[in-house]
Symmetry: C2
Subunit: 218 residues, 2 copies
């Protein structure tokens, strides 16, 4: 049996559990996103600003994925939001089974939005469906405008791109117009937001979009 066969079986098994997760979330009318990025692009901070902006307008639940530590779940728990930490102990991405287990410990009956924050990795999480409605890829301006071309799978598989840390633009070598162009070249259907978690620029627009998506669920 070849490695490729094993890999295909792992992905097939993952996809089957992802389907079950998706069905469960849809039954509860929950809008769900899988938040992916490089380490340090600002996923957890964006989530903190999002929770502040949303206030009581959406009932949010969070699944935090990390290679190690429960730092992120502790940060989110301060916002009085139900959160489950998954520690992968070295694994480079979340899998549907881990999310399935996490969902069993979250109150789903009264939930509008589920945010799954993936492991910081711009490559591997692109291949693993978790059962979410869509992937949101976060890219910070400090990473440079060539990243969509260099890591195309993630931008191809995402529905939304959040360009974060726009407050740092005066200090870094990043052409946002080029970044947008490169990303749309890979995936013309991408919806793009620009945010700063320091100045809060773009956070209201991003949250308005989340609210609109959550309200569209049956």
């Amino acid at each position: 049996m070849s490695f490729v066969t094993i890999e295909r079986k792992i992905l097939e098994k993952n996809d089957e559990i992802a389907r079950q997760n998706r069905q469960l979330l849809q039954q509860h009318g929950i809008f769900s996103i899988n938040l992916v990025s490089s380490p340090g692009a600002g996923k957890t901070t964006l989530l903190e600003r999002t929770l502040e902006e949303l206030g009581d307008s959406l009932r949010v639940r969070v699944v935090e994925g990390d290679v190690q530590t429960d730092f992120d779940a502790r940060r989110i728990a301060r916002y009085k939001v139900p959160v489950v930490q998954i520690v992968t102990h070295g694994a480079c991405h979340l899998e549907a089974k881990l999310v399935q287990d996490a969902l069993s410990s979250l109150p789903l009956a009264d939930t509008d939005l589920l945010v799954i924050e993936n492991v910081g990795n711009l490559v591997c999480p692109a291949s693993f469906d978790l059962g979410e409605d869509l992937k949101v890829v976060l890219l910070s301006t400090t990473e440079g405008d060539d990243k969509p071309l260099k890591y195309p799978a993630m931008f191809r598989n995402a529905a939304v791109l959040v360009i974060n840390k726009i407050d740092l633009l005066p200090y870094v070598n990043c052409d946002v117009a080029a970044l947008r162009r490169h990303a749309l070249e890979i995936n013309p259907a991408l919806r793009v937001f620009e945010t700063s978690c320091t100045t809060r620029a773009g956070i209201p627009e991003w949250c308005a979009w989340l609210r609109a998506q959550a309200k569209r669920q049956p």
Copy 2:
């Protein structure tokens, strides 16, 4: 046959080829580093500043690893340095076999320093020995000071930590003392440099160290 068995065999096979690479590089008296980081931490830019600073003092060869595109090899080729681009076409790390193939197209007879720039990924490349003398992990201040604790394997397996983009410290939420402390907690033997590729701070010290290492080769 289980997935774990397959994975172990892949790593064993990789380690065998890495041993061959190491022997080849040692036979030529070449000092070699495997440069690893998140996407956008500044690996290629550090390499550009390094080549400028080293000038003719070391004969450098470069292997560029990317998921997609040959942008980085083109950037390095401007410095008139022999460079080979490896495109992994989706794979999240370099493997020893890919480096072995790349080495066969580089002039090794008159080489002091080989730099292998890995795929931007703070997780997967930690597990794959390429035959290098040591791993250098680059972490930018924009990624935050908690990363050594959240991605410990890379910091455990590296011999050197370069804290990059220190010019951005006034604008980002990063405590460098805490970053150092976290990194040394994971790996007390880490040698730490602080650099800015914009102001060139720390580049002379980093290059002096590279020169000293290269001169120590037989």
